[in-house]
């Protein structure tokens, strides 16, 4: 009966528009980005100044047109996914790891760790993020590694707060208490009982933040703090294309669509993953 239930629920999930759409978008985007080296061996760098700003859908050589330097927009969108996804994913993974550990410790052991975390979070909340980014990058210099590092520094607090909140709520739940009553030690309680139960909200925040961070890279480029413009990235293309919106819309619209599809795909998958992580299927979606 349990198996039947699982199958029927899986089927229900599969039937859902979201999962199909999410999978299609994420997997498609992921594969394209992964194999961009094979698809576009030039890395979207070949320039043809004479063929600049070719409109899309007119030639097979440049199905999505070319940019102001005559580079192929399609190639750059696909190749650009590497940087964007690297920035988005690595920064989030870093922040999740740091934030989760701190949040677990602060929420479970309370005490000084918690006080420090909370004050730290207050301070970071009160610092306007973009301004901090500008200062931070002005001091450290720009670069993908620094942008990722900065995002980790700026965002781990979000996870720490979230995890701490969930841990506080879980701490006094009866199943934690009963694990303790059995004689389960703190470390084991944290990692086998608390962590799996806070994963759901973390996944949701993560998928939202991947999107957020891809866009942040774009905003930094807008402010002149982005990464090497030779390395295509969605954010950079979007920001650089803004001067051409009236004369060559395709330069920024296609990277914009790429971001949109990825964000959509990731979030739909994230929602689904959260349900999957929750065998009870109780959490409201």
């Amino acid at each position: 009966m349990a198996a039947a239930q699982a199958v029927s629920s899986a089927r229900r999930h599969f039937r859902s528009l979201e999962l199909v759409l999410g999978l299609l978008l994420t997997v498609g985007m992921g594969l394209a980005v992964l194999f961009s080296g094979i698809l576009f061996p030039d890395g979207g760098e070949s320039m043809d100044l004479m063929a600049r700003l070719t409109p899309p859908f007119q030639s097979l050589a440049h199905p999505l047109g070319t940019d102001p330097l005559g580079r192929d927009v399609l190639a750059r969108v696909i190749v650009g996914g590497q940087i964007s996804l690297t920035v988005g994913v690595l920064s989030v993974v870093g922040a999740v790891i740091v934030g989760t550990i701190v949040g677990l410790v602060a929420g479970y052991y309370r005490g000084i760790a918690e006080v420090l975390l909370m004050r730290f979070a207050d301070i970071q909340l009160a610092l306007p993020f973009i301004l901090l980014a500008i200062m931070f990058l002005a001091i450290l210099g720009t670069g993908i590694d620094k942008i990722i590092f900065f995002m980790v520094v700026a965002q781990w607090v979000q996870y720490a707060r979230l995890v701490r909140g969930s841990v506080l709520a879980l701490r006094d739940r009866e199943f934690i208490l009963s694990a303790r009553a059995i004689g389960v030690g703190n470390g084991r309680i944290i990692f086998t009982h608390i962590l799996p139960n806070v994963l759901g909200p973390i996944v949701i925040l993560m998928t939202l933040n991947v999107a957020n961070n891809i866009l942040l890279e774009s905003s930094l480029t807008f402010l002149g703090l982005g990464v090497d413009p030779l390395i295509p990235s969605w954010g950079g293309m979007l920001a650089d294309g803004r001067t051409y919106l009236q004369t060559a819309w395709w330069v920024s619209v296609f990277p914009g669509l790429a971001i949109m599809f990825t964000v959509l795909g990731l979030n739909l998958l994230g929602d689904w993953l959260r349900d999957l992580l929750d065998p009870t299927g109780q959490t409201s979606r």
Partner: protein, 326 residues
């Protein structure tokens, strides 16, 4: 002195018993002071690491070390960092944030001009976002799993997929240039609020809709909602009186947290819409390494963020009597 202290403490705890809120607010105020101090310290220190305003002031032209030295002296920058910082703190207490390095305008005057613009924008967009996200979120929750729900959720994700500056430029193209309805930038009449506020509101709404939806779903499964229905109340009353007020707590918390992010986003929105607010002020101050202006603006912004969060905590009490009376 010594025998006075305990009595004072006694009196304090006495009054505390009468007003449980007072102690809480006092504690939060102390925390707020700490946060603002820490923020100013970090910012003052970091900005000094990131470049010398003397060179910025000289415009990078024909300068000698002596010229730079002169300027630093005139601006008081040759003193040790802590002396400068304490000086800044001292001024801050009297509301004097010093003068801009760029042209010597008093920082307090710049802030007085810019703060209302930013707050107006921030609150307008917050309100617009709430007005948009609450009915949409409720509607999605009520129709959970059906197509209106899916549409609202997917649309909200689309709203999250565009950087704010891009959205802003697109709006300008549409409303100012193609349709010629609204001024592309500046803060003049009420019509100049529409686009900046809408741009920010769209981005806020995208997240808020999901939040309203989730917390509504949670509330709607509560027994008291069924009880309210069993009384024969209209759906609207059940949803917007009984359910929404209970769902408001996570929403209000989130809005408090959002405020910091809102200010961050405002830097870019203000730039695109040439909005004469704190974001512009702070951004220019960083570009110019205009320490007094940056310190002043960040302090005031931090103060506001902290204040908003304090208000959020107080709002809890208004929304939820369990917090008020305990």
């Amino acid at each position: 002195m010594q025998d006075q202290a305990p009595r004072q403490r006694g009196r304090f705890s006495e009054s505390k018993k009468d007003h449980p809120m007072a102690g809480f607010i006092l504690k939060r105020l102390l925390q707020a002071v700490f946060v603002v101090l820490a923020v100013t310290l970090i910012v003052s220190f970091a900005i000094r690491l990131s470049g010398d305003p003397a060179i910025m002031l000289m415009g990078g032209g024909n300068v000698t070390e002596q010229d730079l030295q002169n300027i630093r002296q005139a601006l008081g920058l040759e003193r040790p960092f802590f002396v400068q910082y304490l000086d800044f703190l001292e001024g801050m207490i009297t509301g004097d944030f010093g003068k801009s390095f760029m042209g010597g305008t008093p920082v307090s005057m710049l802030i007085a001009n810019a703060l209302p613009a930013t707050l107006l924008l921030a609150f307008t967009s917050l309100i617009v976002s709430i007005v948009l996200s609450v009915p949409l979120g409720v509607y999605a929750a009520v129709n959970r799993g059906r197509w209106p729900d899916q549409m609202i959720r997917i649309l909200s994700l689309v709203g999250l997929s565009f950087p704010n500056f891009w959205l802003a430029i697109m709006m300008v193209l549409l409303f100012s240039i193609v349709l010629g309805l609204l001024p592309p930038s500046g803060m003049e009449g009420p019509e100049s609020f529409v686009m900046p506020a809408l741009t920010m509101a769209i981005i806020l709404t995208a997240t808020n809709v999901r939040l309203v939806r989730t917390s509504m779903l949670e509330t709607l499964s509560q027994q008291y909602i069924m009880v309210a229905r069993s009384k024969g109340l209209r759906d609207r009353v059940v949803l917007y009186k009984h359910a929404l007020r209970n769902s408001a707590i996570p929403l209000v918390t989130y809005i408090g947290l959002q405020f910091g992010g809102l200010i961050g986003g405002i830097v870019i929105i203000e730039r695109v819409f040439n909005w004469p607010g704190m974001g512009t002020l702070a951004f220019d101050a960083i570009s110019n390494r205009d320490y007094p202006v940056l310190q002043g603006t960040i302090t005031v912004l931090a103060l506001f963020i902290v204040l908003i969060n304090l208000l959020v905590d107080i709002a809890y009490g208004l929304i939820d009597p369990r917090i008020r009376t305990e």
